[in-house]
Amino acid sequence: MSKSGDLKFHLAGAICRDCLNETSLSAERCLVCGSPRLLKHPERDVLSIAHIDCDAFYATVEKRDNPELFDKPVIIGGGKRGVVSTCCYIARTYGVRSAMPTFQAKKLCPDAVWIAPDMKKYAEVGRHVRQMMFELTPLVEPVSIDEAFLDLSGTEALHKASVALSLVKFAKRIETEVGISVSVGLSYCKFLAKIASDFDKPRGFSILGQAEAVEFLRDKSVGLIFGVGKVAQERLAKDGFKLIGDVQIADESRLLKLYGNEGLRLYRLAHGQDTRKVSIERETKSVSAETTFFDDISKHADLLPLVLKLSERVALRLKKAKLSGRTVTLKLKGADFKTQTRAKNLHEPTQLSTRIFAAAREALSQSPERPYRLVGVGMSDLREAAEADHGDLADVGLAREKATESAVDRLRAKFGEGAVVKGWGFKG
């Protein structure tokens, strides 16, 4: 993907990603070890924003722990009505994708080995990887359990190596020390680093330089821009924006008129301009819990106990994270896979499951009774725990509700979740 001609930067050599030696730029294979995995790019030594993504994370961890699975298609997920959480690259050759419903994946790849997710294990591996990232730079912005942005500018002296070499070493260390593989994208901004890391997965390392950014983006779909989902993509296509190149040649003011600030954002990103910094603290924006049913559920009365349980789970997570929220969202996915959400604002932030449930219940009562396959409860507009549940003159029951909930929480912490079952959740 590197572009010859018009090179503004000095020519660094190629780095062998296997033996870490510098090799001549013109070589097709490493002159030392013979590996074809050479990293070369004219801007190699001026770029410092990286996106690191673990390859088929859950599946790779399972394969690491059970070498027999090495050459088998492995799918993490399952249950009669669940979805594919992660699938290994072998399973992907059958067309299996993450978030695909179980039945569909089973049809595509009947021989796959299904493994129920072991989140505890993955979290631990994720922490290990994160720890090693912090050895590269303090500027690590986790995106999820298995991916993060890193800003490595100014770390050359510390590591006595160029940024690219440090990252190559890092990827190699992950393989030997953790036993999984990662893909690295290196660029000058987060947007392109993320695109680059996705480029030649698994075990990839791609560099996207500033000089080639605009041309590189030209023939890509607008869907490549983060935040542009299916619906936005349809709307953009209607206005003639199918490729990022269409946005590039558009007038900035037209985009502003059509889409407001979002139009400006699209315009800038289409030109490879992304000024977002790699920030250490990634704010939690929402806390949610959802569940997919074994059989479709239509009746509100049958959904309510599940909504209660999810509300309690969300409340517990908020309490653990010392957070509270002001907006409760109920999510329902129909048997037709169409998702609808309904949000309710509260008069003040809360951590209480009773308040979350009351809002979710109201939202449910406004939803039609038809077959659903999934229900979710989410909390957003998050605040500090200290801002929650102060109560006021119009909130007469609060003190009691708080006392009850904290008693229930204590009982459950001591005797398990089943120690207290509320009326809505009680099955006789």
Partner: protein, 372 residues
């Protein structure tokens, strides 16, 4: 339809009804006022589907009939006509327009068929009683300021009107709260009110009722059910839907054991609060009340602009206490009180405080403190 009447009589009646009409309407007929002429009367009616006001005025009806025309436009036209002029409203051959004639002025207004005008059917109004206009005015005025505008708790967007037994006497009570302050006013319940359902009168209806009370010595006929209420002020009738919700059990937040009693001169207290609050940049800033023996120190500290303090002589002999309140709320309540002195009953810096004219006063206010 052809009807003639005096401009000021028409203007007054239109003035009562046209305010109900929202400035922006997606349903065209809701912008209109219903006009019907019959039996020597011109009747007017306007609605926003939640609230309906109708009025009637004596007129010279040459030909009975009805139509609807844009309310605000008609009001503006009539307002601008010469005082004392005669106005004729007429629908001639073309039913799509109404002709307004007065002196040398002629207006043609686009009309919509009266048959499409929505009716706010009141249904069965189960309870009725007569209330002195002054009493109704008091119930509304003393509580109106505390009505909440917050939409998440829609049941607070009005005045809660209900009866209850206080020491063997049936009282009619009005309560409003936005969570930060609460206003409660009561008076002896008129005959017929006893046993009425508790109702929440929406804010917009409250504002209109207040404007319709003209002569304090007149009487207002009140009819209500669990879903609607109707107030009759002579020829003007207001019908409103009620807020469908449960008003909080406010009795539980009115403290019964606030032992610290503070008596202040109302006017000087209000003026002092107003002065020190100048320093606060926003309305939300707290005024700190530091109470010691016979002395109240009001202070405001605003890190951006500076600080202010003022000492007020008061009647206070309980333990010293520091407590903060929103300056705006203190001013609002001071304005509602009527006596020369005000009585504040406090507990501690985190608990609600009671404000009233004197022990046993008809109006009682509860105020949440702010952290200072």
């Amino acid at each position: 339809m052809k009807v003639t009447l005096e401009r000021s009589a028409l203007l007054k009646s239109l003035g009562h009804v046209h305010r109900v009409v929202e400035r922006r309407n997606t349903i065209p007929i809701l912008s209109n006022v219903l006009i019907s002429a019959e039996n020597g009367q011109l009747a007017l009616k306007a609605t926003d589907l939640d609230l309906e006001i109708s009025g009637s005025v004596a007129a010279d009806v040459a030909q009975a009939g009805a139509t609807t025309v844009p309310a605000h436009t008609l009001y503006e036209i009539v307002r601008k006509l010469a005082d004392g002029a005669q106005v004729t409203l007429e629908i001639s051959g073309d039913a799509g327009q109404m002709l307004i004639r007065s002196g040398r002025s002629r207006f043609n207004l686009q009309a919509l068929s009266e048959g499409d005008f929505p009716k706010l059917s009141a249904g069965d109004l189960t309870h009725h009683f007569t209330l002195g206009a002054a009493d109704l005015k008091k119930l509304i005025e003393k509580t109106q300021f505390a009505i909440s505008n917050e939409e998440t708790r829609y049941y607070l967007n009005g005045i809660y009107l209900h009866t209850l037994d206080v020491g063997g006497k049936t009282m009619l009570r009005a309560v409003a709260t936005d969570g930060h302050r609460l206003a409660r006013v009561e008076l002896a319940a008129p005959a017929g009110a006893s046993g009425m359902p508790g109702i929440i009168l929406p804010k917009k209806a409250v504002a209109e009722i207040q404007k319709l009370i003209e002569a304090p010595d007149s009487e207002v006929f009140v009819e209500l059910s669990t879903t609607k209420a109707r107030f009759t002020f002579g020829a003007v009738v207001l019908t409103t839907k009620l807020i469908d919700g449960t008003f909080p059990d406010y009795g539980r937040v009115i403290p019964a054991n606030n032992e610290k009693r503070l008596i202040v001169d109302r006017a000087s207290f209000r003026a002092a609060v107003d002065r020190v609050a100048t320093i606060s940049s926003e309305r939300g800033r707290a005024v700190k009340l530091s109470l010691g023996d016979g002395k109240l120190v009001l202070s405001v500290t605003n890190p951006e602009s500076g600080s202010a303090m003022e000492e007020v002589e008061v009647d206070y002999d309980a333990a010293p206490i520091d407590i903060g309140f929103n300056a705006r709320y203190l001013l609002d309540i001071s304005d509602q009180l009527e006596g020369d002195t005000a009585l504040l009953k406090l507990s501690d810096a985190a608990s609600p405080t009671i404000v009233l004219d004197r022990e046993g006063a008809a109006a009682l206010y509860v105020l949440m403190p702010m952290r200072v």
